[in-house]
Amino acid sequence: MGSRYRSSIKDPIRESHLFHIRALQAGLFTLLLILLLIIRLFHLQVLEHDRYTTLSHNNRVTIQPLPPTRGLIYDRNGVLLADNIATFSLELVPERIADLNATLATIATLVQVDADDRQRFQRELRRHRRFEAIPLRFRLSDEEVARIAVNRYRLPGVEINARLLRHYPFADTTAHSVGYVGRINERELQQIDATAYAATDYIGKLGVERSHETWLHGEVGMQQVETNAHSRVLRVLNHTPAQPGSDLHLHLDIALQRVAELAFGEERGALVALDPATGAVLALVSVPAYDPNLFVNGIATHRYRALNESVSRPLFNRALRGQYPPGSTTKPFVGLLGLESGVIDHTHTVYCPGFYQLKGSSHRYRDWKKWGHGTVDLHHAISESCDVYFYDLAFNLGIDRMHDYLTRFGFGRRSGIDIGGESRGLMPSREWKRLTRNQPWYPGETLITGIGQGFMLATPIQLAAATATLASGGIRYQPLLVQAIQPPGNTQPQPTTPQRIGTFPMLDPDHWQEVVSGMIEVVHGARGTARRIGSDLPYQIAGKTGTAQVFSIAQDSEYVAEDLEKRLLDHALFIAFAPADAPRIAIAVVVENGGSGSGVAAPIARTVIEHYLAGLRSAEAS
């Protein structure tokens, strides 16, 4: 190499020459290494190819993920609302089947496979992960399992798997609260942790099942197994059990929920009942509903279309998403604002001739009572639902104060209930109108906001939460469905804490009492708008009726002729809490196209209140 030759002067030609030799050596060295790799690869892929082929085909070690058992959901009395039932399902691995159509035909001779099953199978086939079993039939009977087992030899790639299937025993009754699980779709696949869901086929899609997915799901387990060519497990080598999900205990009272649902009869609408002292959701009803069990394994297209296109919109969660003008149910809140802001006191009266006019305008804002209520104070304005009194009050308050105060009661804001999909409703303001319509606010709009008409929209959950706030003397709680979470193996459920989300500065408790007394008069007074429900009660109900003109919810374009008249009727509303002196339940009822609040909505509320309080009475007696 001549490396012993040293010089302090650079010799470019010599250096370059030296480098060329080294570069050549480096190239040869690389070639040598690559040749060594090739020899090894030749050894593996040619000489030992048969051995490795056998290894890859016959006994091989695989790691199988084990699905965790999903947590159960109970109501407040321990009644099971979401269960896991063991079923046998018939599943196919397309990669292991030579002729899929022939196999499907053979299966059809052995067990019943209907068009819905086929359709669902084809849909899954298009998007499944490779070498993943696709279910063709669920809930095989013992006889069907036996028939497949006997014919297994001519059905390679066909498996019978025992699976836990989610089941909702109360079907429609819990659809809009508990929700349901369904098979994981592509969009969800990208959001979830693939490892955690390696063995799971279902994920919460709606309601509590969705909002508490992380609690319910549990943790995946693993087992290392030796399998044969048909991926039958020969031997379990190593086993890490899956960790089941946590059970949930809801505040929901399923008996109360059933009573409420039945009270609606054939009507459409929603009901939300809350415990004013905690925000616990006692009942959350939206009728008509649907059977969530249909969605667990994927609903057949024609059935889904029927539900989706139904005029009565069973899929729509009216309790959380239905936005209705709150109508006269707004009045107690506006009246309270009038007192607390000092604009009126309880002696203040307004003469109601049956209409109200703004100065300098000929437009008459009508009262619902054509001939008027005469001279009324706040107490009677609430109990008789005098519109003119509240036109006048709203005019004196102005929209800004009303917007701020009603917003603090939760209007125009999501209630924060612990399931998703809630609508915001609308509490209009000058700024809102400028931003969305680019128009100034008109005084007339202030008037009709005072009686809950115009732009204002509220959801049943918002109405119930606002009523609960009124009942609790100004403390707002986040409505909660989930009462406690019970981790697996832990016998003590861990209760969720009620979340206070706001407190009103109560300037004078007498103001609140004044409004509540007006609401008691609604039910128990001689001229109260809901006096029909006030008889034969061992306690007092404080309530307020409301009627909302139809324009927002009746967006269905397909009107059935004989239904037309019914669908143009006003929505009936009723809010209430009871007992009036020590509230245990606050409730909001909306009956779509029900006509008047006193006629249909109030009796439903009474039924629910009476059932709940009777239950409390008997529990306290024993």
């Binding site: 190499m1 010089s7 650079k10 480098f19 480096a26 690389t30 030749f42 790691i63 290392q224």
Partner: protein, 371 residues
């Protein structure tokens, strides 16, 4: 073909844009093949493919950008870059974040940065800068200093501990010294010296998991469900591929079985299973051509710094793929190096492509010599 004589670049329309078309074509072919393999190895995951595409775009962009920098500038930067890298490495040891059980990331607010990536370039640059200051071949003293320059960052990285990167950085520095003309006699002596060092290292310098890897490498059956599982499974995958492979997307071992890290460090197993020995030969040919092109560029470089740096970069690339393939086929221990330009992954690929950018810069910034 791989050694075309230098042409006067200003004559071509793209004359002012520094780019080695041949190297670019080879790298593009390799990246394309990599994407084809990744599509299968990822289980046809479009999102993963898209992310890899974005990374490749960034990496090729970085390469072309670096190719515009003159080697003289690089030579001036070398000591500064090296010093900066050393400081960062110390910072990592003191404050670094724990990632995957080892400490190698530095949180710079906006992103996490791995200073060892910078050192992959800074070490060969520094050693080449130092040796090029003096006439070649270097004296024993110069060799010792040069090796020390490489040893300090290597030890710092090995302490993190990141065995794979430490190995790469050590070899990049070592290759500079070898290319500089370290006498063979010395090489022989140092190899002899390596044995007791290795013994000491085994007993005092290694973490348990590293020792496990070595033991398992020597006898994979020792722990077939734990540490040896990787190698056993990848050997089954490759061996069952045979001459022609099972066909693209049809690798049962890769798709069905638990072939761990099949889209990252063990992607070669997927390739070997699906494309067989012929496919593997094609891939090795591509790698070989890139190495040959790199060595030709190094040989045609006009000053010592460029030559040494180009040679070291090329050989480090060679170490990359030989070690990765070696570990997947069970002849080398599992050290956690990706298959360059094929494995799914980020920062290492950018560094690699910047290194190729330096190669291009060296080749295209040559001045026309009057012989």
């Amino acid at each position: 073909m791989l050694g075309a004589p230098p042409q006067h670049r200003r004559d071509t329309p793209l004359g002012r844009f520094h780019l080695d078309l041949l190297l670019l074509l080879l790298l593009l072919t390799l990246a394309l093949l990599g994407l084809v393999i990744l599509w299968s190895a990822s289980g046809e995951d479009l999102q993963m493919l898209q992310r890899q595409l974005i990374r490749l775009g960034l990496a090729f962009g970085a390469m072309l950008l670096v190719a515009q920098i003159s080697p003289d500038t690089l030579q001036r930067w070398a000591p500064w870059l090296f010093g900066f890298g050393l400081l960062l490495l110390l910072a990592v040891l003191l404050t670094g974040e724990i990632g995957k059980g080892a400490q190698r990331w530095l949180d710079v607010g906006l992103f996490r940065f791995q200073p060892s990536e910078l050192m992959k370039l800074a070490v060969p640059m520094m050693v080449a800068w130092y040796l090029a200051e003096h006439p070649l071949p270097p004296t024993l003293r110069q060799i010792m200093i040069a090796l020390l320059l490489a040893a300090v960052p290597t030890l710092l990285i090995a302490m993190q501990p990141d065995l794979g990167t430490a190995l790469l950085i050590a070899s990049s520095g070592g290759f500079v010294v070898l290319f500089a003309g370290m006498p063979w006699r010395l090489i022989g002596y140092s190899l002899l010296l390596l044995l007791p060092t290795a013994w000491l290292h085994w007993h005092f310098g290694m973490y348990d998991y590293q020792r496990q890897r070595v033991l398992t490498f020597l006898d994979p059956e020792r722990d077939p469900l734990g540490a040896g599982y990787h190698t056993i499974q990848s050997k089954i995958a490759i061996g069952s591929g045979g001459l022609y492979g099972k066909g693209w997307l049809n690798g049962t071992q890769s798709h069905l079985e638990f072939l761990p890290e099949r889209h990252t460090d063990f992607i070669f197993a997927v390739y070997g299973e699906e494309f067989g020995l012929f496919g593997v030969l094609l891939l090795l040919l591509l790698y070989l051509l890139i190495v040959v092109r790199g060595l030709v560029i190094a040989s045609q470089a006009q000053d010592s710094f460029s030559r040494l740096l180009a040679g070291a970069i090329t050989m480090t690339f060679m170490v990359y793929f030989v070690i990765n393939i070696g570990m997947v086929i069970g002849v080398l221990p599992v050290v956690g190096l990706p298959l360059p330009l094929v494995s799914y992954g980020g920062s290492a690929m950018i560094t690699l492509m910047i290194a190729f950018g330096i190669l291009m810069a060296i080749h295209t910034h040559r001045k026309l010599l009057k012989n």
